[in-house]
Symmetry: C2
Subunit: 344 residues, 2 copies
């Protein structure tokens, strides 16, 4: 059957998606956007429906040794809602399919669903469908999120213009540090099972990895202020990777200032303990689920009102490249070193 | 963590879904129907959007030894579209997430997607999103299908009334026989790898299991004739199981005539070869993906025009029970012996 054999790893995740969808055609006149952005956009007779889907696999995307099931359920929903938010849309519905091996009890699933329902409640979203089945190994969670947006008001990754300001919500790198902390405690536990985990004073970073929040509040705030970003993406794979997505899909270059990247004090402190530059955590770590977006320069004054939004750089012509200005005054080419599920 | 431990198998699939969704609340005013039917129904500003989701796991739902990947891709889509059809809606969009272990090559995935795209083309549906990731073991396919229906025109499982006629499209039991044939050829192959499969003259039943078709044509035909079923479900788990779903959710009883159950000549012939009653294949086999529905008696004349629809019984009050009239003139209580993913 397989006369030619190309390893999936040789394509990488994005390459694989590009490859698999290269011949995809749209047939419905109402389909405005299909594969290739955070979510799809289809006409819904007055408003537009936005759809996004994600699959999480035990051992690949999460480790149940340090992920409480309730948090996992919450996070699985949050990650999908984040994709809807990244379209500048409001999440409204989800469907959840789970595959479970027989080592899970009903009580364990109840915990998982407690988290799922908690996220639905927090974000005013309805769970409207699902499927449960057996898996041969481990837990598999597949969620599809649906949202709505005023017709034509959705924001893609491809609309950034030269001179637009590059902005990010919240702070970055915390989830990466939280993961390092959990991994360290896991190693200690495996070596000396009696030792209690030492996660005191690390609530912020551990919370960032275990219970991320989609930035629906940022979308609402921007909408209320009448600011429509020219491009937007959520930060799931690390800041560099996401900036490069916007540059590539908008066919633009950028200048990013290292000193402008927002990083929480706990993240900074713990990064130094792990002997890694805090900005590296932000640039190459992942799972912060903040929103990265570009705005027109004329919206700069309005943006500064929000303490939750940082301007971290600006867009240039594509031939000016993707530049990182370091704190030390040097310039580097911005490269993606984000997580990928296939190198993971 | 698990002080009480309830085995998932003790609930069964439907029990588990009921259990997990027992506290599910809807918050969006536009949500007309959530969990508990073939698909969800949400308002879409003029029409209604219908959403359904399914997960297929290698070794649980399919065996790659006798399932060509192209057929698998086609079937994975078909099964989801069938759920949309069972709401009396028209499928419009799908999202596809796949988890893959590293034993799959890109060429193998191409085959899978060829089938997915073939089904999209056949049913005029757009693939609008997806996710690919690694799995620890085997292939996992999770598909969400979206469709549309005129506001208020969707058909649930719960609307059957006393006196309504019980109808089914196409014929039943073929997929079950097809599966038995494939399983038999697999055993022979494993014992004597040189022997060529003997599937000549069995194209119909093997086709029924490998390449089922959602009955979008039946939905369109009924809509064109102005017939709105009072209840509807697709036949994925076997006729008895599906009839009992309609009875339970409509709070009705039924009388089913064994002799009226439509069965293809090849199915009959092969059933006898396997020493099983053809009607047992229809009642307890699964995966035929025909539509089972109830209509008002006044629509009887119109229904008889279609050679693709059989009237197989009628609905009664709940206290009259669920009755099967056998060809031999006896009556039995109709019981569900459908496939369930957890009894595997």
């Amino acid at each position: 059957m397989d006369e030619q054999r190309t390893d999936i790893a040789s394509l990488g995740e994005f390459g694989l998606i590009d490859h698999l969808t290269r011949n995809n055609e749209t047939r419905q006149a109402g389909t405005h956007l299909g594969v290739g952005d955070d979510a799809a956009v289809i006409d819904s007779f007055g408003k537009q429906t936005v759809i996004s889907t994600d699959m999480l696999v035990e051992g690949i995307h999460f480790d149940l040794m340090y992920t409480p099931l309730k948090h996992l359920g919450y996070k699985a929903v949050a990650v999908n809602l984040s994709d809807i938010c990244a379209m500048f849309a409001t999440p409204t519905h989800i469907t959840v399919s789970i595959g479970i091996s027989n080592r899970f009890s009903v009580e364990a699933l109840d915990e998982l669903y407690e988290g799922i329902y908690a996220a639905c409640e927090r974000y005013n979203v309805d769970l409207v469908g699902g499927d449960t089945c057996s898996s041969q190994k481990g837990l598999i969670i597949s969620i599809t999120a649906i949202g709505e947006v005023e017709t034509g008001k959705y924001v893609t990754r491809s609309g950034a213009q030269k001179g637009d300001l590059l902005c990010v919500s919240g702070d970055l790198g915390g989830a990466y540090i939280g993961l390092q902390l959990l991994e360290r405690e896991k190693r200690i536990f495996l070596e000396s099972p009696g030792v209690q985990p030492d996660l005191q004073n690390k609530a912020y970073t551990v919370g960032r990895i275990l219970k991320p929040e989609p930035r629906a509040d940022i979308v609402t705030w921007l909408q209320e202020k009448g600011i429509t970003p020219t491009s937007m993406i959520d930060v799931s794979d690390g800041l560099s990777s996401e900036i490069l997505h916007i540059c590539k899909q908008s066919n633009k270059g950028c200048v990013l200032y290292e000193e402008k990247i927002p990083i929480h004090s706990e993240t900074k402190e713990m990064a130094l303990e792990f002997n890694v530059a805090p900005s590296t955590c932000a640039l190459s770590g992942g799972e912060d689920y903040e929103l990265l977006f570009t705005i027109k320069q004329e919206d700069y004054e309005k943006i500064t009102i929000s303490e939750q939004i940082s301007v971290i750089g600006y867009m240039t012509d594509a031939d000016e490249g993707t530049i990182l200005h370091t704190k030390g005054g040097n310039t580097h080419k911005l490269v993606a070193q984000g997580w990928t599920a296939f190198n993971g």
